[in-house]
């Protein structure tokens, strides 16, 4: 991310606050958002980048994928976040023209900058080029907003948001659903409720 892009996003995000306030004061007609509108076709498949231009440049995408996989790595149950398209999802999310997304965008982009700066300060190279032990030494300091030291709070705020977005992208995919053992969304002839042996185990009638 170059500095100009970053500033542009911050300005866009801060500009959206007074805009919202004005709208709520008189409920004036909202400026037409260049989003998908109030009547998008629902029975079709959408891909990131199809509705609005994406934001991340290749080095940012690389960092985004590495961080997403630190949060959701492959394990014996399922693949990693980046393997199921989470970077595309995050890029789509922070590029969307809606207020919530425009608030998230500078948090994510400045978070990437914070990570790189912190990696350089501690280890002399960018975050993407660190090894696993080095990644964890930084992430351990920002993985909890409650426990983060004062000078790591911005990083922790970013990390919390990034973890939520990563999980949102991951668990909404078929791989994520399977990881959680979700077995619904299939037509049933009848719904029988929970198995009796489970109810018995839980002392439920």
């Amino acid at each position: 991310m170059d500095r100009r892009t970053s500033i542009k996003w911050v300005l866009a995000a801060s500009a959206s606050w007074p805009l919202l306030a004005t709208r709520s004061r008189s409920a004036e007609p909202a400026a037409a958002l260049p989003g998908y509108g109030t009547d998008p076709p629902l029975v079709t498949v959408y891909h990131p980048g199809q509705l609005w231009p994406l934001t991340l440049k290749p080095p940012q995408r690389r960092l985004a994928g590495i961080l997403a996989d630190i949060i959701i790595p492959a394990d014996e149950h399922s693949a990693s976040a980046s393997a199921v398209g989470v970077v595309d999802f995050i890029d789509e999310w922070i590029s969307a023209p809606y207020p919530r997304n425009q608030r998230d965008c500078p948090i994510i982009l400045s978070g990437f900058s914070w990570l790189d700066a912190e990696a350089r300060r501690r280890f002399g190279q960018g975050f993407a080029d660190l090894d696993s032990r080095q990644h964890h030494s930084i992430c351990d300091d920002i993985c909890s907003e409650a426990r983060a030291a004062r000078d790591a709070r911005d990083g922790a705020r970013f990390f919390a948001r990034y973890r939520d977005l990563t999980a949102g992208g991951f668990y909404s995919t078929p791989v994520g659903r399977q990881d959680l053992g979700y077995i619904g969304n299939v037509p049933l002839a009848h719904f029988d409720g929970p198995p009796p042996e489970l109810l018995k185990k839980l002392n439920l009638p």
């Binding site: 007609p29 998008p40 992430c139 990881d179 409720g193």
Partner: protein, 600 residues
């Protein structure tokens, strides 16, 4: 060809129905099945649940994993078309920016209106709910009693298909035999909540929702609904056969392509159209009821949204069913030298006594529900069970500090994972990431329960709508300005909800998510945000203090009726849609009878 344009309409109709949702759909259905020629005008576009419902679509196929946006506030796959808290080109005004004075107005611009996405919760008002002033001295009595409306509750339940049970509880009426479909099996979380709530003296019984848990009785019900009318019976039987029972998957809020739940577009409109008696014009934004020289309504003026041009349609009778606030807006904008303050407003009550439902929410995490085996818990998509208000006696004795009750919609379960499933759980995980985070998400998935309180608001003088003197919508139609204020009854009720929910969560050995708001002003959802707004053209026994009589007929104009939520004189905790249908059906029967007697 039942869908007509502004230029292919008939020169006149028996009845014009403005709006196509619960009120408009029910009005048109009842009239058409008895032979009346009806023109329905819908402000939004034509909509087909069969071809447009995203059944089984998963979040990964949607933009932003299906998350809500200002364009689609309830999520990408929500059925709402051209609707939401803000509709482009159709502003409204709030008189106050004070948080407690905030009113939000949800609209949908589509055939079937809000019935396409609603929660399908179908509760009857009880005897107390029609006579609240007589019971506790607050609010307003209706000019009808439960016994007047009960037969129409039966009919509405039989027609649309409602699951539930008869429990014989106070002010929670039983249905006549054969009216209700069997309730769905509860989930593990439902049973756990019910068990622990009961230990606190809080009942939990099967919910009532307009979802077909089995096929409708297409052999018996048509004759019960339309005695002596063989044509109507045949039409309805054919249509009931075409509605499939629930397949226990895909959220109802998306609409239902197999017509297993009630939407005006899946239940009311198909048989009405099949009768040949219904013409529908969509993209017709009605802004005025027009009067003839005799002082009777002779039709309505509307903007054809496809051309932007004003048009007129004529009929013997006009029914407004455009949603409470929109019907009030049309009447207020129908000004003439004879009626300078709007039509049907000689009482000065038009726009007054606007009410919404009191809403407050709390959720919790329940260790007993962690690490359960995989279960298909899509079920009926929620409210398999609920808690009706249970403290009538304590309340009447003045022990609670607020006058009216609330019911609780609760639930949990292994819902289809989405963008929010693993978000915001640092309070449980301590900030885990990596393999530990994946383990944590598996552990906590399906272990959350939520409680939504839905309570009665006492109507007050400070909650009303009027025409804003300057703001107009994109067609130049003056818009509404809302005034809103809660009373202590609502604020204390919302705080009571929070304490109750926290007690139930703790009785389950669970942890409350976030804070328990014991300050009512913080606990209560903004006015209008529960989307149960009613009132504004209330029915009453006295023309000086009400807008319509007991038949939804305006006092001032004999052939002008309002059959939507605007006529509600109280807003009981029970979700209003079933009552809207019962009142609309009753009004339609009255109109038919008066038309047969040539009085209309």
């Amino acid at each position: 060809m039942p869908f007509v344009t502004a230029t292919s309409q008939q020169s006149t109709y028996d009845v014009i129905v403005v709006g196509s949702g619960a009120a408009g759909g029910q009005s048109a259905y009842a009239l058409c099945m008895d032979g009346a020629k009806v023109l329905m005008l819908e402000a939004g576009r034509k909509y087909s649940p069969q071809s447009e419902t995203p059944m089984f679509q998963t979040p990964d196929l949607a933009p932003l994993a299906g998350a809500g946006t200002p364009d689609k506030p309830f999520g990408f796959y929500d059925a709402t078309v051209d609707g939401g808290w803000e509709v482009p080109g159709e502003p409204y005004v709030r008189a106050s920016e004070d948080p407690g004075g905030r009113f939000e107005w949800w609209r949908a611009r589509m055939l079937g209106g809000r019935t396409n996405h609603w929660g399908r919760i179908s509760l009857r008002y009880g005897p107390y709910d029609f006579k609240p002033h007589s019971r506790d001295g607050l609010g307003l009595d209706w000019p009808v009693a439960y016994e007047d409306i009960a037969p129409y509750y039966d009919k509405a339940e039989l027609l649309i298909g409602v699951y539930g049970s008869n429990e014989g509880l106070e002010n929670t009426p039983d249905s006549s035999p054969g009216c209700l479909l069997p309730p769905p099996k509860p989930l593990v979380s439902d049973l756990l909540i019910a068990q622990r709530a009961k230990r606190l003296g809080i009942p939990a019984i099967p919910g009532h929702r307009a979802v077909l848990t089995r096929a409708l009785d297409f052999k018996g019900t048509p004759a019960r609904l339309h005695p002596g009318n063989l044509t109507a019976q045949k039409l309805l039987a054919e249509d009931m056969r075409a509605r499939a029972p629930c397949l226990w998957a895909t959220p109802c809020g998306r609409g239902c392509a197999i017509r297993a739940n009630y939407q005006s577009t899946t239940v009311h409109l198909p048989p009405a159209l099949a009768s040949g008696n219904l013409d529908i014009t969509t993209d017709a934004m009605v802004y005025e009821v027009t009067l003839g020289r005799d002082g009777r309504a002779n039709g309505v003026s509307f903007v054809d949204r496809t051309t932007g041009k004003p048009q007129h349609a004529a009929a013997r009778v006009v029914i407004l069913a455009a949603s409470a606030c929109e019907s009030v807006r049309i009447l207020l904008n129908s000004k003439s030298t004879r009626y300078p303050h709007g039509l049907a407003n000689s009482s000065g009550q038009l726009g007054r006594y606007l009410m919404d439902t009191v809403g407050s929410t709390l959720s919790g995490q329940i260790p007993l529900l962690e690490n359960l085996p995989p279960l298909n818990e899509d079920a009926a998509d929620g409210v398999q069970m609920y808690t009706p208000w249970w403290l009538y006696r304590e309340q009447l004795a003045g022990k609670l500090g607020f006058a009216r009750g609330y019911h609780i919609e609760f639930g949990g379960g292994k819902r289809m994972p989405d963008h929010g499933t693993a978000a915001g759980i640092e309070w449980l995980t301590g900030g885990s990431y990596g393999v530990k985070f994946k383990q944590d998400v598996r552990r906590y998935y399906g272990s959350f329960v939520y409680f939504d309180g839905r309570g009665e608001m006492v109507p007050n003088d400070h909650s009303y709508c009027e025409i804003d003197p300057s703001v107009k919508d994109r067609w130049g139609i003056p818009v509404l300005r809302f005034h809103w204020q809660w009373s202590q009854h609502e604020l204390r009720q919302a705080a009571h909800m929070q304490r109750t929910f926290a007690d139930v969560i703790e009785s389950m050995g669970g942890k409350v998510s976030g804070r328990v708001q014991t300050d009512g002003a913080r606990a209560i959802a903004a006015g209008g945000s529960i989307i149960h707004e009613v009132g504004g053209a209330i029915m009453g026994a006295d023309p000086k203090t009400s807008v319509t009589n007991r038949w939804c007929q305006t006092w001032d104009v004999a052939n002008l009726f309002v059959t939507d939520g605007a006529v509600f004189a109280s807003n009981a905790d029970k979700n209003p849609t079933l009552t809207i249908m019962a009142l609309a059906w009753r009004a339609a029967d009255h109109i038919l009878e008066r038309m047969r007697r040539k009085e209309l």
